[in-house]
Amino acid sequence: MAEEHDPKLSEHYRSLEPLEPPPELDRTILAAARDASDKPHAPLVVPAGRHRWYYSLAAAAVLVFAVALTLHIERERPDPEGNVASTAPAPQLRLERELRGVIKRAPEPESQPAAKPEAFAPEPQPQAQEAKKPSEAPAAPPPAPRRAAADEVRARQDAALERAKVEAERARMQLERRTSNPDANSIQQRAAPAAAPTGGLAIAGAPENPERWLERIAELRSRGKHAEADKALAEFRRAYPDYRLSEVMRERVEGK
């Protein structure tokens, strides 16, 4: 630092013409600073005095809302052993919901091929595991306490959801088999754009890693299903825009 400091130079520098900001400039800046600090901030502090009742009112409103919501759920809950199908959505809607549900979850790194029905189901989630327990064990605990009742309702809803998922999967498999069916194509198209951002969901809805996805495209190409292969390749490009194709794979998926 010695080389970067020279006391003699500093002395010369200090001896230069003394410069001071003019008083009017000081006044302008200080006035602006005061004005800025006078402006109200976001209400981060607890209001005092007559505003205290806001908090009581807010707490009461939240309480009323929570009670109303609980009662509503209690009233709307499905029959414990009842017909799930009657409350479940129509197959196509269910299928769409199911697809969206899968898309929201993180893709499985080592998921099974889409052809297997179990591959479509996402990685077992803790909630799903919880949901299976009540469905496997019909002797549910007595719903005497309010919390237990709420848990039971949730478990039943989860179990119903699981069953709906299985049905949706079955429907999807049927649709897949009928590739010429326009309904199936439209569902696939609806599923695909949402799949892209997750970076690994194939047209059929199963999360795939890029290599497996490319294999499938190559297979479509080799079977002469060029339109489907082109579409799948476009989807792949959307999902993995920076993926580098090897020359061999490029030839296989592009068919050139």
């Binding site: 630092m1 080389e3 970067e4 400091h5 020279d6 003699k8 130079l9 500093s10 010369h12 520098y13 001896s15 230069l16 013409e17 410069l19 001071e20 900001p21 003019p22 400039l25 000081d26 302008t28 800046i29 200080l30 602006a32 600073a33 005061r34 800025a36 600090s37 006078d38 901030h41």
Partner: protein, 177 residues
């Protein structure tokens, strides 16, 4: 014991206008000199000086004491000066290009400026902007090499070189007389 700058700025952020007044009183003269000696024009310098403080006022809610307040203040000043030069179509010359044409003092003026202070002032004015800025940050802001580097968004080696060049040139100018 005086409250540190950072504490004052936090107090101002939280609505204490008096804290700003103390802070302003501490830094006004040095920052004023830094700005005026960077732009060489009093009217422009005053305008810039005011705008820099306005930026400080506007930025108060985002202020967090991650570095010394002085470094933060002179970083704002540096950025504002760079904006000013860009608006006027000027750019800061690089270290290698430090012999800016027209930046050297007029030989006639130099001959007239016999007094050491005048010579020093001329040499300071003749410094390339980056070197002058480094010198002024060091002298006026009391910034260390690391702080100069942080304020001017460069690395420490570059900041050190600029300051060294500036000092060497100023020394040479003084010895020439």
């Amino acid at each position: 014991m005086e409250a540190p700058d950072e504490q004052l700025m936090l107090a101002y952020r939280d609505g204490n206008a008096a804290a700003f007044e103390t802070l302003y009183a501490r830094h006004r003269t040095r920052l004023y000199r830094f700005v005026l000696r960077s732009v060489k024009s009093r009217s422009i310098g005053e305008e810039l000086f005011q705008e820099i403080w306005m930026r400080v006022i506007q930025a108060r809610e985002r202020y967090t004491p991650q570095a010394r307040f002085t470094t933060w203040l002179y970083t704002i000043a540096h950025n504002h000066l760079v904006d000013h030069w860009r608006k006027r179509g000027l750019t800061l010359v690089s270290l290698e290009d430090d012999e800016t044409p027209g930046a050297s003092p007029d030989p006639a003026d130099h001959a007239e400026a016999r007094e050491s202070l005048a010579r020093f002032a001329a040499a300071l004015e003749a410094l390339p902007p980056l070197q002058r800025e480094a010198f002024l940050l060091h002298e006026e802001g009391g910034l260390s090499i690391a702080e100069i580097a942080a304020a001017t968004k460069t690395n420490e080696e570059a900041a050190k070189s600029r300051l060294r060049y500036a000092i060497a040139k100023l020394k040479a100018a003084m010895n020439d007389g």
